[in-house]
Homo-oligomer: 241 residues x 2
Amino acid sequence: MLTKRCYALQMTARTLRARVRKELTSEIKAIARRQLAAEGANLSLRAIARELGMVSSAVYRYFPSRDDLLTALIIDCYNELGEATEHAVGTVDPADFLGRWLAFGHGIRDWALTHPSEYALIYGSPVPGYQAPQDTIGPASRTTTLILDLLSDGVAAGLFTEEEQNQIPEAVRVEMARVTSLAGGTIPESVMVRGVTAWVQVFGMITFELFGRFANVLDEHSDELFDYQLRMMAEHVGLAR
Amino acid sequence: MLTKRCYALQMTARTLRARVRKELTSEIKAIARRQLAAEGANLSLRAIARELGMVSSAVYRYFPSRDDLLTALIIDCYNELGEATEHAVGTVDPADFLGRWLAFGHGIRDWALTHPSEYALIYGSPVPGYQAPQDTIGPASRTTTLILDLLSDGVAAGLFTEEEQNQIPEAVRVEMARVTSLAGGTIPESVMVRGVTAWVQVFGMITFELFGRFANVLDEHSDELFDYQLRMMAEHVGLAR
DNA sequence: TGTACATCAGTGAACGCGCGTTCACTGATGTAC
DNA sequence: TGTACATCAGTGAACGCGCGTTCACTGATGTAC
């Protein structure tokens, strides 16, 4: 029976070993993510091994250290959030800028609400003693890319009304120019700075909601509140029209 | 000599014991806060005792458990942040609404920048397995009280222009009414909802700055960026004029 | 002012756990001829 | 297709640590008379 399965598996992974390795790697990560919910970012390799029915040292065949496992989780989370949000935005007519913005905001929030501990991992307090390696940067910027694209496209479509740039302090203009340059350099500083506001606002709302800052006061109609805040921000940026 | 000191101390604390107890309690908390920076919210009573040159069980004379110590820290932090911000706002002419708002925002950020791990404790990811008791609510609401007062006073001064309330969805209005009722009930929902935006924005900016979300992109002129965002929010709420 | 008793801070040992990581090893799987 | 050798997943023991909390105790400080 194992041999039969082996042949079947060879279609997807070169060898049985490679396939099993892939599966176990995922299972370790899945268990680790369940641990996140209960214990936060203080993963216990021994507890994971126990749950797998393995000896603790066996986990080292899959991840060279606890921090590497943590990095893998972080990258997965960024990618899942990125993918979910890209998909949400992707279903909207590209010319519908307000729709894209709403899809962006709700996409992020929906993922966060269904994966609260994962959201906390990537957007909560930094893990003490952990230094995120370069590999996390790409996945982490998938969501910001979406918003930059939205603004670029808006500019291309002539969406934003002209504004006097020199109202903005020089130092802020410099920062905005740096961000803008990441997205082709077409976004005016005055638009960018409001985009930053909106971007921060979205994550601020989600963080406050998930971390309990709205508890007992603002937590009864959070969907509607979030949606309305999104719409106000769209107006503020100039995406509503 | 000890006896002499004892008499002197009796002026502030009834007995030597009471005085020493007070001092040691503070010292334990001080050491715990230093631990926060290095290890996050996973306090180690044994490490604290070690640093005090005491046996680990001695700490239990001061705090009945680790969670109680954590609660004490959280309350202290809320109070310090509250006091610092109240003081910052208090130095401004009460009729200068923009000034009060700027003092509020910068007050919070200044404290956060000088106490990053303490800020993470109270505004970062919830500590797994820890349930904040009722005693934290009062201290925690000191900052929000400031902003509610600011809005109330603004209303009393006729600062805000009339706006159609019925643009706001019913569900959001209900939430806003609940918040408003905490502050005497004079703040219109349309003002309140923008106040929430601004409030979330302030903490969102600080959280992103401290937790490294601006790293390598927006971190060179953060003072100016924050200040400008504050001013935009003031305008958005209607405090700027 | 002096003595008797009560309070309570700090000790030291113990309970019953936990952890990450290394290393020599067995035995199954995979590869090359 | 069959055999020889290489790879590598998982074992089990060990190293050297860590932790919160309880409890009976000593001895100093505080209180009441």
